[in-house]
Amino acid sequence: MTVPIVITVNGERRSVDVAGSESLLHTLRNDLGLPGTKDACEQGECGSCTVIFDGAAVCSCLVMAADADGATVTTVEGIGEGAQLHPLQEVMLAEGAVQCGFCTPGFIVTGVHLLETNSHPTEPEIREALSGNICRCTGYGAILRAFTALTSEGA
């Protein structure tokens, strides 16, 4: 059984038929051709699948696609202005915060949401906001340096 939904993804209205049991993560990756959002647990534990959903950073693996009807969603593919990287993407690269990169889309989306809601987060606030995103490679040090470099520049 499928349900037709309409969602605005990265500024574009998309119509898609989704299965009743399907997660938004699945719809993004498999039906809408947006594999940038990653699937590493489907249990809300790793943050790899984070998207901005009607203004909130959420794990798309925990959202039923059918419930996303009418929602506005930003995925990692929608971060940055065209070919121009978002400053967070720039600084993640400059600080060596990307190794395998599987966690990176989740950190970028969560981080962009953090910076939109709090442009000068303190270190404990950064850690807290990103504590739902697991990175198995970097040990978080370089990711922290990236955020600190960005938020201490007095932007």
Binding site: Q43, T75, P105, G141
Partner: protein, 739 residues
């Protein structure tokens, strides 16, 4: 006058130049294996054994085959080639051969139109089991001779005695690599009986060898391609779904994709061996080691995988980076019905280092020496015989330098912060500041570089000049560690050319680069790239009578004498190299000989805050001094050290795959805890550069060191804070509270 000094090229060695794959990774455009798809492809799924040990009395695939959208259901009967696979020993059936030997062993595979249908079809297969008693006790397995390999090391005088004796029994639990990217494979049939396979792998050539044997195909009929990998840490050194997805593609004539979900990933790859270790250290009154006696048991689970090599590492590194003339080691890796174990970062050395460094602390205390002072007195140096194998240490080994550098890192303010977020357990738990005790602990770890014991270890690379720039051709696997960057840096520095790209090749296009494991690729593939770049440079310079290569061509005394287009007028110019490290040899009956090609050493200091009443720990910081040979990319080194320390910390205080009667009880990220941003300690790094005797520019591999001695350093710090003996990792709250 012209001298060939290292060219002043941008992005050469010693710089922290960024990754070429960085931009696609931050924009979501990097294709991981699990992102691959094609129109009309099928999805694969696996039925697994619900028992750790059982006889399969009936298997009826009919109900699955009858489902709409199901295109194939395959069992062991459908394996046309070798029924068994395995990297070292071919002892594992491709699919269940009538007996399940571990919980989650693959029984049948399905291809269907979509993921959901494939999973439902796998569940619809009727499998009838007669459960058997699982052999889940490793000591029982050792008693009855159910073993993969036994190691015996005898050096010096077995009857030697020291006046100070410390004994201990240690245990380590099962750790999972838990790479964030799941196992994934995408198989595309070529219509002529062969196929292209894009798989998460650490070594496509060794996969290829096993895959063609099981499929009964010629080598050129199967092309294994390196695919985008979301971390590995050893979990991808052995075959998981590779043969299954290939069989499904050949059976259906369609492209097939398979991806494990997290729970399946936990059962679908090999893990770190759990261990039990008994040790006796004997020393004289000044703290000089006289004799080390140890018995180690590692549980290899149901199939061999790399267990024979893991136990050798555990045995040879059981004394650590210290001199000792009398050594008696017996080590065994057993076959049980527990989940198969294999490679994980540190590869046997992690377990031994936890025990032996705990012993060194006990010895220091018994003698009345500071922990690092005892280690300094016994520190292994070039020219010394290695305590276990007796081989004379060649190349660099700055054991004392890493200890001194670690000590020079300032120790933090002893006052724990008032911020409840920084308290053990965090804000959610109720540790009052007054209850917190701080502890500091140390450990030093030694690791071998590349493959040992006479293995024919090599890496191939081709460096090619094209009109568009330099290409490096390799099948070496980039798992995230930054090999791709280091290869570029090496080629730039050797050639003096800025435009360098790494081009991944499949198994039909280039020979093996060997495994991305054993801290070996910087030295091995890096060494091949170095030598191929030197060969290419010399060939081009001599042909065109130049003395320098630049991006636009060959120069002689500052004048352009041949453009790149002229150099490539008959097509690209290339140099292909098969690089080998210094020869090693298998051990003799006493475990003696030139077993290892090189060594790397590191030291760690941990600072922890503990609430002894609640048993909560916060790891405040873990500092390290690391022998690197030569630093090719300092930023990437720091990244490896911080990431490795985090895995060592996970093993010290939280990561345990709970296995009960052979069954994994916590195969999810909800129940298998991985350190998060809030758990992450601060890390300060000191890099020690003393060039090694082989490898590009004297560089060593460093990726395993941070996971080896960080764990015992953290446990030592918890002991210092609590006074508990803490002989098992991970240290649980109950161990600290003492209930």
């Amino acid at each position: 006058m012209t001298t060939r000094t290292l060219p002043r090229v941008r992005g050469g060695i010693g710089t922290s130049v960024g990754r070429p794959d960085g931009e696609p990774k931050v924009t979501g455009n990097f294709a991981f294996a699990s992102d691959l798809s094609s129109p009309g492809m099928l999805w694969g799924a696996t039925l697994r054994s619900p028992h750790a040990h059982a006889t399969l009395t009936e298997l009826d695939i009919g109900p699955a085959l009858a489902m709409v959208g199901v295109h194939a259901v395959l069992t062991q009967d459908d394996v046309v080639g070798s029924p068994m696979f395995g990297q070292v020993e071919q002892d594992q059936p491709v699919l269940c051969d009538g007996t399940a030997r571990y919980w989650g062993e693959p029984v049948a595979v399905v291809a269907a139109d979509d993921e959901e249908t494939a999973r439902r079809a796998a569940a619809a297969i009727v499998a009838v089991w007669e459960p058997l008693d699982p052999l889940d006790d490793p000591e029982r397995a050792a008693e009855i001779g159910s073993t993969f390999r036994e190691m015996r090391i005898r050096r010096g005088d077995e009857t030697a005695e020291g006046s100070v004796v410390v004994e201990g029994f240690y245990e380590t639990a099962t750790q999972d690599q838990a790479p964030l990217g799941p196992e994934a494979g995408f198989a595309i049939p070529d219509g002529e009986g062969g196929l292209d396979l894009y798989i998460t792998s650490q070594w496509v050539h060794v996969d290829h060898r096993q895959i063609i044997a099981c499929l009964d195909l010629e080598p050129d009929q199967v092309r294994c391609h390196p695919a985008g990998i979301g971390g590995a840490f050893g979990s991808r050194e052995d075959i998981s779904l590779h043969i299954h997805v290939a069989m499904l593609a050949l059976a259906t004539g369609r492209s097939v994709k398979m991806v494990y979900d997290r729970s399946e990933s936990f059962v679908g790859h090999v893990k770190r061996h759990p261990s039990r270790m008994w040790y006796r250290h004997e020393a004289d009154e000044d703290g000089n080691l006289v004799k080390v006696t140890a018995r180690l048991i590692l549980d290899g689970g149901a199939y061999a995988h790399t267990s024979p090599a893991v136990i050798a590492n555990a045995a040879f590194f059981s004394v650590g980076p210290y001199r000792c003339d009398n050594v008696v080691i017996d080590a065994v890796v057993v076959r049980t019905n527990n989940p198969p174990a294999g490679a994980m970062r540190g590869f046997g050395v992690v377990q031994a280092c936890f025990a032996s460094e705990s012993q060194m602390d006990s010895l220091a205390e018994a003698i009345g020496l500071a922990p690092l002072e005892l280690r300094r007195r016994n520190a292994l140096a070039p020219g010394d015989p290695f305590a276990t194998s007796g081989q004379v240490i060649q190349g660099s080994l700055p054991t004392v330098a890493v200890i001194d550098a670690l000590e020079s890192i300032p120790i933090p303010d002893p006052i724990p912060s008032d911020d409840p977020r920084l308290a053990p357990g965090g804000t959610g738990l109720t540790t009052p500041r007054s209850a917190v005790v701080r502890g500091v602990g140390y450990a030093v770890g030694l690791k071998n570089l590349a493959f040992s014991e006479g293995f024919d270890d090599f890496a191939e690379a081709r460096v090619v000049m094209t009109p568009a720039g330099i290409e490096i051709h390799t099948a070496a696997i980039e798992v995230g560690q930054g090999l791709v960057t280091v290869c570029q840096q090496i080629a730039r520095t050797v050639l003096g050319v800025d435009r360098v790209a790494v081009v991944w090749k499949d198994t039909s296009q280039i020979g093996s680069a060997g495994s991305t494991s054993a801290s070996r690729q910087t030295q091995m593939t890096g060494g091949a790239v170095h030598d191929a770049a030197v060969g290419l440079r010399d060939q081009i310079l001599s042909l065109h009578g130049g003395d320098e290569l630049r991006d636009d061509g060959v120069y002689k005394q500052g004048e352009l004498v041949a453009t790149v287009n002229e150099i490539c007028s008959d097509g690209p110019v290339e140099c292909h190299v098969r690089f080998r490290h210094p020869k090693t040899y298998p051990p003799d009956a006493d475990g003696q000989g030139e077993i290892h090609a090189g060594f790397v050493v590191a030291a760690h200091r941990a600072v922890v805050d503990v609430d002894p009443e609640l048993g909560l720990v916060r790891v405040v910081r873990v500092d390290t001094a690391q022998d690197v040979g030569r630093a090719l990319n300092p930023q990437a080194i720091v990244g490896q050290l911080e990431g490795g320390i985090m895995q060592g910390m996970g093993f010290a205080v939280m990561e345990e795959l709970v296995i009960d009667g052979g069954v994994i009880r916590n195969p999810t990220f909800t129940d298998y805890l991985i350190p998060t941003f809030l758990d992450a300690p601060d890390v300060e790094v000191r890099i020690i550069e003393e060039g090694d005797h082989w490898g590009p520019f004297g560089a060593k591999g460093i990726a395993e060191s941070p996971t080896i001695s960080s764990t015992p350093a953290i446990v030592a710090a918890i002991r210092a804070a609590t006074g508990r003996s803490l002989t098992r990792v991970p240290v649980l709250p109950t161990d600290i509270v003492g209930v």
